[in-house]
């Protein structure tokens, strides 16, 4: 099915471990985004990518790494997870960011113990 899928949907890990959240979209959208959602903060942009091999920092990039070797995939890696990274992570994509219609995945709920 066409769409944007995230995996895993739920993940529990321990402080200091490396975690990778996967995001895959089938629309060939140029732009992809990673947001985190926390109570009282809404959604905050972590990283975004305008095309394959082009990535840039968002509002809260510290502690995260991204890559985009293929247009359809945009994995987010927490190199050494901390408790403050406990959150719900959303991947989104769009063809033209100017129109504002982002298509979101269902989210990945990460708990860092």
């Amino acid at each position: 099915d066409a769409g944007i899928t995230q995996s895993p949907r739920y993940k529990i890990t321990e402080t200091g471990r490396q975690v990778t959240l996967m995001c895959h979209q089938t629309w060939s959208h140029s732009y992809m985004f990673w947001y985190r959602q926390d109570l009282g903060h809404g959604l905050r942009l972590i990283y975004y990518s305008a095309a394959a091999d082009i990535t840039d920092k968002g509002e809260v990039p510290d502690g995260y790494v991204v890559s985009r070797s293929k247009t359809e995939n945009f994995p987010l890696t927490l190199e050494s997870a901390t408790r403050s990274q406990t959150s719900v992570y959303f991947c989104a994509s769009c063809q033209s960011p100017a129109t504002g219609e982002l298509f979101f995945g269902e989210g990945s709920r990460l708990t860092v113990l």
Binding site: L45, Y48, P97, F104, G107
Partner: protein, 117 residues
């Protein structure tokens, strides 16, 4: 830099009553404005958007919003709500000009709308 403030964190209403969810924004350049809805355990989906033209925009599910440039507001309204409208609603802004903010959505903190029978 741009920012969004949603003035109410929670709005309880009874079914068939009207509702208004308030959103103010701040930006040094011209903007595009959006409302997204998030149902429980789902991602966000676009309700409506203002890019240009008429300041009153209509979206899905009977929602509408009015762009007020002088008051830097983009309030969301629905004349009669249904139980199924219970969700969290996010206002968002992006820059319509070039620069570092172009194309990047900035979201408000969200408003939880709860519709009671």
């Amino acid at each position: 830099a741009q920012s969004v403030t949603q003035l109410d964190s929670q709005v309880p209403v009874f079914e068939e009553a009207p509702v208004e969810l308030r959103c103010n924004y701040s930006s040094s350049v011209s903007v595009y404005l959006f409302w997204y809805v998030q149902y429980p355990n789902q991602g966000l989906q676009l309700l409506l958007k203002y890019l240009s033209g008429s300041t009153l925009v209509k979206g899905i599910n009977g929602f509408e919003a009015e762009f007020n440039k002088s008051q830097t507001s983009f309030h969301l309204r629905k004349p009669s709500v249904h139980i199924s409208d219970t969700a969290e609603y996010f206002c968002a802004v992006s820059s319509s000009a070039g620069g570092t903010s172009y194309g990047k959505l900035t979201f408000g903190q969200g408003t939880i709308l709860t519709v009671h029978p």
